[in-house]
Amino acid sequence: MEKITVVDGVAVPLERAQVDTDQIIPAEFLKRVTKTGFDDALFFAWRQDPDFVLNDPAFASGTVLVAGPDFGTGSSREHAVWALRDYGFRAVISPRFGDIFRGNSGKQGLLAAQVTEDAVETMWRLIREKPGIPASVDLVSKTVTVGEFTAPFEIDDYTRWRLLEGLDDIALTLRDESSITRFENARQSWRPLTLPAQ
């Protein structure tokens, strides 16, 4: 995974709360067996509306999505993260994330930065006043900046460390392989086995 320290670019306001992953990417696009090629699928239903924010040329090259509370709730589909990333987003800002979505983001190098509701409101206002206003999300100082406005954000220390170092989760876990084997050797015999089929 690539190391991330700062994400900057154009901030896109998604002035909606409770954006579930079915909205981020509808189920019809989950039939694919690849991890890429989902950029057109992002917010597919909403993009049919010409007034939807992603159809505004001012935000065509957006990299930082600023959304309302409870972003990424619902279905566990990691496709939501792949679609955001494919489209060009590198960071999402929200006052509250769905737990699974936040986890998925961390695994895929999409920065999920949690800020206060007031901070989101302020960012929305600034972006409305000046569409295309530059934004940056700094993982080192844990701050988001939109224009002149700066707010701190929350991200768990472990995810932050992994993103800063660009570390692969599975390789990290396999460092503990001997502990896993020891645990397995002590596993009680009543615990389920799928094989052989009974």
Binding site: R16, K31, S76, D99, D176
Partner: protein, 501 residues
């Protein structure tokens, strides 16, 4: 999750699965007892393994089935949609290559992944269960710690049989009292979600407790745990008890002999200690509950069936007001409309929330001997091939067909707009599933979440209705369609049939 005082059910299960305790804010490394796989969230994970040259560490703790993307008609024919077909074929190839047991379309153990695990007896108390699907919380009904994961985590579990996880906080949801006739587990959970909101459970494991939960069957408990994710919680649990043990005993993969005794001895230690402290607590009075239905586009936007749609201005939070306004626009509904005046085009009886045998029995008990309302399309989709057989042995398929409804093969079906079963744009559906998001059941489709009893009564009348709205029922729940004794016997016979690899 370690605390000085007693521990909760969730903390006990967690503690017993810690392989490496995280230090300095690092997550714990948790061992996974059971990994369920389906076609939609696994192909990229298997690809990852292949690219890194890694095997599946424990194929014997892994099991796959096909559910999301499968048709529920003509299942012996080739899948018509080429993209769907490739996804199913990819799963079959991956399972073959990595030695994972698969129950494909047409197999007697095929079905919705969250119906299959429990019916095989693989889901049991005190274990950890994961699946690349957010409704994995269903399995918590057994006192297991079960939660949905993303595809990267699927790959992680395939490769290591563990997951690095930060401990959850714990929330007790206590439901005391006795449910009235016609009020079900589904109504409890819809009321819980309306109460704490779709984000209320974020970061928590919910433990459902209290006399109303204890009185529920395993099916009812699964319905409740299933929708924990709709309250934002990754997992929901119910402490194991005799109901749990009775359900499990004799199932193909349930422990046998001395293992069974050892398991029971351990499971009896799992319920939350009396001096344990939850991080949050919520109370609900079961006596006061009525059937609950949703009016909006998230599962928290619900009211009593006897109520009317609330005005967006009645919400304190401006974000919620805006969501309500958007929802009403999408749903083409006006504030103040009585729920019972809402006419539907379709009724969907199915999904991992409500497609087990008890759900089908409840649905059948209401529609028996009746005809569906004109112009309403009614689909009944068993959760698994085995549930379908069990229902057919009880004559439920006949009741469904005489009613004028469609009796389908097992799968996720119209719960999500992915397979051929979808709503047309603008169509309105009373659905026993779990998500009423925009477009969830098909682009432009409108969903009202309901219990099986409400779905059945709605199918009879064509407008959102409860069973006591039907003539001749005298305000009371009708008798069940068939004797429970006969049903239990059929269940046992079916359990002795083997599955395929």
């Amino acid at each position: 999750m370690a605390k000085a005082l007693g521990r909760t059910l969730a903390e006990k299960v967690w503690d017993d699965h810690v392989v490496v305790r995280g230090e300095d804010g690092a997550p714990d490394l948790l061992y996974i007892d059971l990994h369920l796989i389906h076609e939609v969230t696994s192909p990229q994970a298997f690809d990852g393994l292949r690219m890194a040259g890694r095997p599946v560490r424990r194929p014997d703790l892994t099991i796959a089935t096909e559910d999301h993307n499968t048709p529920t008609l003509n299942i012996t024919k080739q899948i018509a949609d080429p993209v769907s077909r490739i996804q199913i074929e990819t799963l079959r190839r991956n399972c073959e290559e990595f030695g994972v047991r698969l129950h494909p379309l047409g197999d007697v153990e095929q079905g919705i992944v969250h119906v299959v695990g429990p019916q095989l007896g693989l889901t049991m108390p005190g274990i950890t269960v994961v699946c690349g699907d957010s409704h994995t919380s269903t399995h918590g009904a057994f006192g297991a710690m079960a939660f949905g994961i993303g595809t990267s985590e699927v790959e992680h579990v395939l490769a290591t049989q563990t997951l690095p996880l930060t401990p959850f906080k714990t929330m007790a949801i206590t439901v005391e009292g006795e449910l009235r006739d016609g009020v079900t587990a589904k109504d409890i959970i819809l009321a819980v979600i309306a109460k704490i909101g779709t984000g209320g459970g974020q970061g928590y494991v919910l433990e459902y407790r209290g006399s109303a939960i204890r009185a529920l069957s395993m099916e009812g408990r699964m319905t409740i745990c299933n929708m924990s994710i709709e309250a934002g919680a990754r997992a929901g649990m119910v402490a194991p008890d005799q109901t749990t043990y009775d359900y499990l005993k004799g199932r193909p993969h349930a422990p046998k002999g001395a293992d069974w005794d050892a398991a029971i001895a351990y499971w009896n230690t799992l319920p939350t200690d009396e001096d344990a402290v939850f991080d949050a607590e919520v109370f609900l009075d079961a006596n006061e509950l009525e059937p609950f239905v949703t009016w909006g586009t998230n599962p928290g936007q619900g009211v009593l069936l006897s109520d009317a749609i609330p005005a967006p201005e009645s919400f304190d939070d401006p974000n919620e007001q805006a969501s309500a306004r958007r929802a009403l626009e999408y749903m083409d509904l006006a504030a103040g409309t009585r729920m019972k005046d809402i006419r539907v085009d379709a009724v969907f009886m199915g999904s991992c929330t409500n497609s087990r045998i008890e759900d089908l029995r409840a649905f059948a008990s209401v529609i028996k001997g009746k005809k569906k309302a004109d112009g309403v399309r009614v689909m009944v989709v068993p959760g698994s091939a085995r549930v379908r057989l069990e229902a057919e042995a009880e004559g439920i398929d006949k009741i469904v067909e005489e009613f004028g409804a469609e009796w389908r093969f097992a799968g996720c079906s119209m719960c999500l707009g992915m397979n051929p079963d979808q709503l047309a744009p603008g169509e309105r559906c009373a659905s026993t599933s779990n998500r009423n998001f925009e477009g969830r059941q098909g682009k432009g489709g409108r969903t009202h979440l309901v219990s099986p009893l409400v779905a059945a009564a709605t199918a009879v009348r064509g407008t959102l209705s409860g069973p006591w709205d039907l003539e001749g029922l005298d305000g009371r729940m009708p008798e069940t369609a068939v004797g429970a004794g006969a049903a239990a016997q059929v269940g046992n016979d079916l359990r002795t049939q083997g599955g395929t690899r």
